[in-house]
């Protein structure tokens, strides 16, 4: 060693470095690492900020849709108006339209106002009654048809307040805006205030938002998600029942049984490509095949489910194949080595070990399908549906809506009350997605492979 150091053309011996002082090179490296860490933190920060902004905006706009303003009135169900024959003939009772029920509610409000001595200058009885939702007579009629025995009695009812009155308590409508709005007058708001002081009008939890069907443009206060939730649920059932077995069977065949040749390579590439096909293309396919060719009804959950199945299949197949691949081949060897057939080795050993991955993939696929809007528009699920679909399996063929489509639908309407409704629907959709993802995480944790 000393010879080399002593030779004249050898490189100069490096300076003795101390471990306590950092060399230039190390400093640079540390700085680069620090910088990268900061970039990463900034990226995560931006992501979190976006999430917070989204949640604040949606929760801020939408949470109020779970609360609604109601009036509590004692309504007299007069026999002469509702059942002229007096024999409780259902046919006769059903002949009375909502026009027959409107005056009863109006009278009840008038009576209550007189009792409480509430009078607002410049507000006649008709205008006063306009603070009650136009949906109320219909709801009262439904109630009477369901309970014909109660005709002739006086019942306490919680009737919906008009959307503008509701908006007043949620900050959408003010005295100033009412003065220039032809839909609501300052006097009506004053009446609402007086009724609130008297304890007749109150804002409380509104379960109808979850259970009631959609309502027309003029009645945002009555619009609910019932049909949309049921429609989405039906579609998810169809997707689960079709996509899971087809997807898992296809993956098992491709991964475990199929010979590796040009054809299976081609199929593999195409499955990956299918996962990237824009969803609206599946909508057009569904329209062409399921509705125009097969003649299935429009707006039906079965068609929506079939379209979403096509869309979800690649996701499930890719996830299933990945989890089958992750099962170590030694397990297959072990099973084959004791004389199990190929199928026994797959079903007894490989599939149970791959199950958590398959379930997670399926749930993620379902969650993706649950939020899909574009293909459903093409098959007519964007239509206004007020009737609940029937029970399965016939219900799969009845018209229904779907959650994301309902959001889209509501954002298209003019009444600002629907903005709140749409945000509320997004909250419901997000809750469903969070629940599904939580299930996926729990399943993964629970059946985590142990070897």
């Amino acid at each position: 060693m000393s010879d080399i150091a002593a030779s004249p053309d050898a490189r100069p011996a490096p300076e003795r470095s101390s471990l306590l002082s950092l060399s230039e090179h190390t400093k640079k490296r540390n700085a680069a690492e620090k910088r990268f860490e900061i970039y990463g933190m900034i990226a995560v920060g931006i992501g979190l900020l976006a999430l917070v902004v989204l949640l604040v905006s949606i929760l801020g706009n939408g949470l109020s849709s779970f609360r609604q303003t109601f009036l509590t009135l004692n309504i007299e169900l007069t026999e002469e108006k509702l059942d002229k024959s007096g024999v409780r003939d259902m046919e006769a009772i059903k002949k009375v339209s909502t026009f027959g029920y409107g005056p009863l509610i109006e009278a009840a409000l008038e009576r209550r106002m007189a009792e409480l001595d509430i009078a607002i200058d410049g507000l006649d009885a008709g205008d006063a009654a306009d603070i009650i939702s136009k949906e109320a007579p219909g709801q009262l009629r439904d109630f009477v048809i369901a309970n014909p025995d109660l005709i002739g009695t006086t019942q306490e009812f919680r009737v919906l307040a008009d959307g503008r009155i509701d908006g007043y308590y949620k900050g959408r409508v003010s005295m100033e805006s009412a003065a220039i709005d032809s839909n609501v007058s300052v006097e009506q708001l004053q009446l609402a205030e007086a009724l609130k002081d008297a304890g007749i009008l109150a804002t409380s939890f509104n379960s109808d938002f979850i259970t009631a069907p959609d309502a027309s443009d003029q009645r945002p206060e009555a619009a609910g998600l019932g049909v949309a939730i049921l429609g989405s649920l039906y579609m998810m059932l169809v997707v689960l029942v079709l996509a899971l077995p087809i997807g898992v069977a296809a993956s098992i065949y491709l991964e475990e049984f199929a010979p590796k040749n040009r054809w299976t390579d081609l199929i593999e590439v195409n499955i990956s490509n299918l996962a990237a096909v824009p969803s609206i293309v599946f909508g057009i396919l569904g329209l062409a095949i399921f509705i125009n060719f097969a003649g299935l009804p429009q707006s039906a959950p079965i068609v929506g489910g079939l379209v979403l199945t096509l869309m979800t299949l690649p996701t499930i197949i890719i996830a299933t194949r990945a989890s089958l691949k992750s099962v170590p081949p030694s397990i297959r060897d072990a099973a084959l080595g004791v004389g199990a057939s190929k199928m026994q080795s797959v079903f007894h050993h490989v599939l149970p070990l791959a199950a958590p991955g398959i379930l997670t993939g399926t749930i993620i696929g379902l969650a993706q399908a649950l939020g899909e809007t574009a293909p459903l528009r093409l098959i007519g699920m964007v239509a206004f549906v007020k009737e609940f679909p029937g029970a399965p399996p016939e219900g799969f063929f009845d018209p229904a809506s779907a959650l994301p489509v309902q959001v889209y639908n509501w954002t298209q309407r003019s009444d600002p009350a629907f903005v709140e409704r749409a945000s509320g629907a997004i909250i419901v959709l997000l809750v469903f997605l969070i629940v599904m993802n939580t299930i996926a995480v729990i399943l993964r944790r629970r059946f985590e492979r142990r070897w």
Partner: protein, 264 residues
């Protein structure tokens, strides 16, 4: 290569497995070149040779595990008890029940110890009821010298055992189907010396009932456990004979180079 097959007198047993002119191709690779060998019953036969010489491949031909590899083609004849195992009428699944296999890495199923051993008998319908199955499990674990350690924890996962215990569990699983031949592909390479000694002892006991074929990288192991040894080199069977003779008086120069550490 046939010249190198043993010509010594067969001392005690009949031929169990007889291979003639076996050729194996993986795609374009010629992995086994014209191997002919006779393996005797109730004997431990060791396959030795450098890595990639084809000894594991040849072992996997004996229970047709190579069938699971798409690109693998096997030609030639392998007979067990005079029956051609590559005959079209032979179902490899049935064959593998008769020819058990233990792999290099212990690979118990992620199930209980009991279920690991009971799996083979269950799928082959060897037990008519729970009592018979219990009996088979106990007998197999005893044969694998694992019963004393495992009898109180039969319902615990097999993957929770130590490496040596796992390998003995795999042996128990292999003998549970009552095979006639037991193939072992480097069964001790993942084990420490103590576990290796236990497994070797076990192999010697298994010889009472089975024809055992073991692939090993360790020449000491081959010398310790086997009665007959086959030396493979570059896909060919170079020499086959009594273990003692192979290690003391090899007839082929390649064998001599290998066992003295000059090649491989």
């Amino acid at each position: 290569m046939k010249d190198h097959r043993t010509t010594e007198s067969e001392t005690m047993n009949d031929t169990k497995i007889s291979a003639r002119n076996v050729q194996v191709h993986y795609g374009d690779t010629h992995a086994i070149k014209d191997v002919s060998v006779d393996i005797q019953d109730k004997t431990v036969t060791a396959f030795i040779g450098p890595s990639g010489c084809g000894k594991s491949t040849f072992l996997r031909c004996i229970n047709r595990m190579n069938d699971t590899i798409d690109t693998c083609r096997v030609s030639g004849d392998i007979h067990i008890d005079g029956e051609d195992i590559y005959d079209k009428a032979v179902d490899p699944v049935q064959l593998r029940a008769k020819v058990g296999m233990v792999f290099q890495k212990p690979n118990p199923f992620p199930k209980s110890i009991y279920d690991n051993v009971a799996y083979g008998p269950r799928i082959h319908g060897l037990a008519r009821n729970k009592a018979e199955l219990d009996e088979i499990v106990e007998k197999s674990l005893r044969r694998a010298a694992l019963w004393q350690e495992a009898k109180d924890r039969l319902q615990q996962p097999g993957t929770g055992l130590s490496g040596g215990q796992q390998q003995r569990l795999c042996i128990a699983r292999a003998v549970a189907t009552d095979p006639e031949v037991l193939l072992m592909d480097e069964p001790c390479s993942a084990l420490d010396p103590i576990a290796t000694a236990q497994v070797e002892e076990l192999i010697d006991e298994l010889r009472q009932n089975y024809s055992v074929v073991i692939v090993t990288h360790s020449m000491q192991q081959a010398a310790r456990v086997s009665q007959r040894t086959a030396f493979f080199h570059l896909g060919s069977l170079v020499e086959f004979g009594e273990t003692d003779r192979i290690f003391t008086n090899p007839q082929d120069s390649r064998t001599e180079s290998y066992i003295t550490g000059r090649i491989g």
